[in-house]
Structures are given as C-alpha cells and as structure tokens.
C-alpha cells in the first residue's frame, strides 16, 4: 500500500511521453496527457521469457547431477558413501516394481495437503478474528504467542498419547506447522492495512463486514499468500518429522527404514523426491499467488 505513489509514477511518465506526439482532442481537454499509453505492452513475450528463466534455473541442478555422476564414476566416493545417480534411479525403478513408491508418495502428499488445508483455514480464521477484533486481540494474543513459542515438535509426545500413532496425529502435527505462518502473516497484515484506505471507505459509510470484505481482506491477499507458501514449506518439514518418528508408509518412513537397512540409494531417492514434490507444490501455490496478486494488488 505504501508504494502507491511509486506504482503510479510509471504510467504517468509513459503517458506524458505519449502525449507529446498526439494531438489534443476535445474529450481529452481535461484528461489530456494522462492516458496510460503503452500499458500492457510486452505481454506477449513474457511466456517466452518465463520459459527461458525456468531453463536457466535448471542449469545448476544439471551441473550438480553431472558433478555427482563424475565423483561416483571416478571412484572418488565409494558406493556405500554416495551411490551413483544410476543406482538411485535403479532403486526407484525397483520400488516402483514392488508397488511401494507410489504409496509412499501418495500417502505423504495426502498428509501434507490435509494438514496444510486444515491449518491454513484455521490460521485465516484466527488471524482475521485477532487482527480485527480489539477485544479478541487483547484476550488471546498473549496465549497464541506463547503457543507459537513452543517448538512444534514438542507436541509430538502429547499427540501420540492423546491421538495415538495414526493418520490423525500426523495430520494434526502438520496442521500445527501450517497454522502459525498463516495466522501470523494475516494477523500482522490486517494490522497494517493502509489506514487512509480504511478511513476513506468509512467516510462513505462502509463498515463492519462490508469493510472487511471490500477493503481489509483484499488488502492482505499478497501477505496471506506469502503466509500460505511458508505454511506449505512448514507442512513438508513437519511431515518428515511425523513420519520419522512413527509411521509405516511415506517418504519419511522410507528415510528411516533405508537408514536402518543401510540403503543410501533409497535415502538419496527420498531426499530427491521430497525436493521435487516440495518444489512442485510450492510452484503451484506460486501460480495461484501470481494470479491473486494481479487480481487484488
């Protein structure tokens, strides 16, 4: 919001440049010189540029892969320390043949999606209530702050005792992990909504729920999305924590199980899969974020 002036500066200067060469018409008498000429120009080339940027971003992973291959092929690392890329690929094919890899991936993704969705919705509700209601803020913020200060893994023993070792306890842990980033960004975002905009809306009789939906919530959409992306990263973090501690399926389980069996190739496979799936889900959320920021900011 505070960059309002800065954002406006560009269309004006473009318009002024455009106005120099254009004759002034009657309709333009008032608005002459402030036609946003050239706005949206260059939109066609952005897709091409985006693909180029993605390809450039793949250079470093490709170099890493090459380095990995060379260091194992040259015998610099023993296979028991660092297996070659091809043996990791073979481990993947082996797990696919046994019908286990898809199960691990799907169950982990399901846990993350469920925990992330529940945690985000709760975070939005709590953030909105505490961010907007002065009474709720005074009553609840110290408590929520104290709960946030508890390292979330400290809940694990309690969750296992209360809920048991099952899906619910894992999803609950991920929910806790996803809740706080969403809550915090929305709560702070609502505190910092441009007072001038709120006042202007109030001056025109907009208040209560209408003020929330027309001014306050739209104003925090960009902040909310950064919170959601943080929450998604936290969700994957807490997934692995939950699965490392007690599970019989999932990528975290694959990590512990492979460690106990000395299968470094499967450990690397699990890590690479976590990186790829985590990055993919984040990218999907990034697309939604870009859309939302274009729509609301």
């Amino acid at each position: 919001m505070s960059s309002e002036v800065g954002q406006r500066a560009v269309p004006i200067s473009r318009a002024e440049l455009a106005a120099i060469g254009s004759p002034v018409t009657a309709e333009d008498a008032v608005g002459q010189g402030d036609v946003p000429a050239g706005f949206g120009r260059g939109a066609r080339s952005t897709t091409g540029r985006r693909i180029g940027i993605i390809l450039l971003g793949l250079i470093v992973p490709a170099l890493l892969l090459l380095g990995w291959h060379l260091s194992t092929a040259s015998g610099f690392f023993k296979p028991s320390q660092l297996p070659s890329p091809t043996s990791v690929l073979a481990a993947a094919v082996d797990l696919v043949d046994r019908g286990q890899l898809a199960t691990h991936i799907l169950i982990s993704t399901q846990r993350v999606v469920l925990g992330f969705l529940i945690g985000s919705v709760l975070g939005v509700v709590a953030g909105a209530v505490l961010g907007l209601s002065r009474v709720a803020d005074i009553l609840l913020t110290p408590t929520v702050g104290a709960l946030r200060a508890v390292p979330s893994l400290a809940w694990v023993p309690l969750l296992v005792l209360w809920i048991g070792i099952n899906e619910d306890s894992k999803v609950t842990l991920i929910t806790i992990g996803a809740f706080f980033p969403v809550f915090t960004t929305l709560y702070l975002g609502l505190r910092h909504v441009d007072r001038n905009l709120v006042e202007a809306a109030r001056a025109f009789g907009v208040n209560g729920l209408r003020l929330l939906t027309t001014v306050q919530l739209p104003a925090v959409v960009p902040a909310l999305f950064s919170g959601l992306r943080l929450a998604l990263a936290q969700s994957w973090l807490f997934l692995v924590a939950a699965e490392l501690i007690a599970s019989s399926m999932g990528l975290g389980f694959l990590l512990v199980d492979s460690q106990q069996n000395g299968r470094v190739d499967r450990i690397l496979l699990a890590i690479i899969l976590l990186a790829i799936i985590g990055k993919t889900t984040d990218a999907l959320l990034g697309i939604a974020e870009r859309w939302a920021v274009r729509r609301w900011a």
Partner: protein, 274 residues
C-alpha cells in the same frame, strides 16, 4: 468540458445544498498532560450552495476542521451543525475527497466510484449514476481500468466522482488538487466549478493555495494564530479573517482587486512582499 455537462443529466439527481454551521469548535491532540490545542473557538456559518475556501499554513488545523464536518473526527468542544442538526459519526449528508485519491487498487474506477453511492440506491440506478459521473469527470472510457493504470490526475477525478456519487448536501474537499501538476490543477478547478454549477452543493475547500481560493471561493476563511502583539496564553488556530471574494466566476487572475486581496491574504499567512 461543457459538452459533457448537458443540462438535466446531473441536475435532476442533485440533492438540495445544505448549510453548515461550525459553533465554538475546539480540538486538541496528544496524550493527557502534553495536549496541544489545534483549533479553538471556530464559529462560522456557511450558506447552502456556497463555496467556502479554508486557507491556512500547514498544520494549522484546516483538515481537522473538515474532518469534524465529515464526522471522521470528534471535536473536544463545540459542534458542527449541518442543515440545523448536529454531526455525530460518519454523516451521510457529506462526502469527502481527500488530498490523495485513496482508491481501492483492486477495484476498477467504476467500482471505486460505486463505493460512494448512498446505501439506499438500487443496483441499476446506482450503475447508471456511476457511469454518468465517470462521464462528468471525463473518465467514461476508463471505467474498467484499475487505479494504478491511470495517472494521478485521473485518480483524483475518480475520487471526486466517488464523492459526488454520494449526492452530498455538503462536499468536503481536503486539498484535493494539492498533489497535482499545475496544468492538471487548473483543469480540475474548472471541472469543480462546472460540477458546482450543475449540482449546486455546498463546498468546503481546504487549500494552502491562495490563488486557488481566489478563483474558486465565494468566501475565504483564514485559519491562524490570533496573536496580534499580545500573548494571551491560548494556543491553537482560530478564524483570523473571513472575506468575500469580489467578482463573479470565472475571475480574471490579473485583476487589481484580486491582486490586493492576494497580498493581504499572503501576509496573513506570513508571506510578505508579494
């Protein structure tokens, strides 16, 4: 500009202009113990349909006076009466245009103007009114644009249209042209006069620009410290001058009458030798 102001298009919808009476208005700011008075004993009667310019140096309480009329601020003493009834809370009879456009960036200009519509207006009548106002301020071609896609002058005209959508009995303008370049400012001033002759509403115009006040206002109110040599220990601004501007609008910027008035107003504001 006159082309878009076809008679009957806006006049039919305009509400009656309302009189404003400031009565013994006082306002202080700050924590208890270190409160500083900004306004004191401001009493003035504004006629229905009048354009009153409120002049003063920065920080003298011009905006505070306007905000009291809008119900955005509550005075410590005295009250504001609009059409005889006191202002308490946001007042439906007033509409404000601020120094900044304060448009919602996620709405189109059209949707931003629609925010100003009174609650009672129906959807179809409201939409027609919004389009009519956008046409009035010369922005009908930009109805679907977002605020960041238009210039500062266009955004400010949208803000003016939003205020007019309210069908206000009193139009409160808080330095609405202050941030615009000189050419756009003159066009906006002309637009305001056109609008005023089409919808003769009462206008309170806060400005720090003496020439703007001389061009637009029926009367000019100067706010300032009332210390003519003797210090009576009272701080805060009050009315130091209230003058009627001679001549009908549009006024010749170079006339001798206005020149003399300009000099005396400038010296009241602490600028001498002009």
């Amino acid at each position: 500009m006159t082309a878009v102001l076809a008679p009957g298009t806006t006049r039919t919808t305009s509400k009656q202009a309302l009189g404003v009476h400031f009565s013994g208005l006082g306002r202080s700011f700050g924590a208890a113990g270190s409160r500083r008075a900004v306004l004191r004993d401001v009493s003035v009667e504004v006629e229905p349909g009048e354009i009153l310019a409120i002049l003063g140096t920065s920080g003298c309480g011009k905006s505070t006076l306007l905000r009291a009329a809008a119900g955005l601020d509550v005075p410590d003493s005295g009250e504001v009466l609009i059409d005889g009834t006191p202002v308490s809370g946001i007042d439906e009879r007033c509409a404000v245009a601020f120094q900044e456009p304060r448009l919602l960036p996620w709405h189109t200009l059209q949707a931003n103007v629609a925010i100003g519509l009174p609650k009672s207006s129906s959807a179809s009548a409201g939409k027609a009114k919004v389009l009519e106002l956008l046409k009035l301020v010369g922005l009908d071609a930009f109805a679907k644009h977002r605020p960041r896609e238009v210039s500062g002058g266009m955004a400010q005209r949208t803000s003016l249209a939003r205020a007019l959508a309210r069908n206000p009995g009193v139009l409160l303008l808080d330095e609405p042209f202050g941030a615009l370049d000189a050419l756009t400012r003159i066009r906006m001033q002309d637009l305001l006069l056109d609008i005023h002759s089409a919808q003769p509403t009462t206008v309170l115009l806060v400005t720090h620009d003496v020439d703007e006040a001389l061009q637009l206002a029926d009367r000019i109110l100067v706010l300032g410290r009332d210390d003519d040599g003797h210090d009576d220990g009272r701080e805060g601004s009050t009315i130091t001058e209230l003058v009627t501007v001679p001549g009908a609008r549009p006024r010749d910027r170079n006339s001798a009458d206005l020149g003399a008035l300009r000099s005396s107003l400038l010296s009241l504001l602490g600028v001498t030798g002009h």
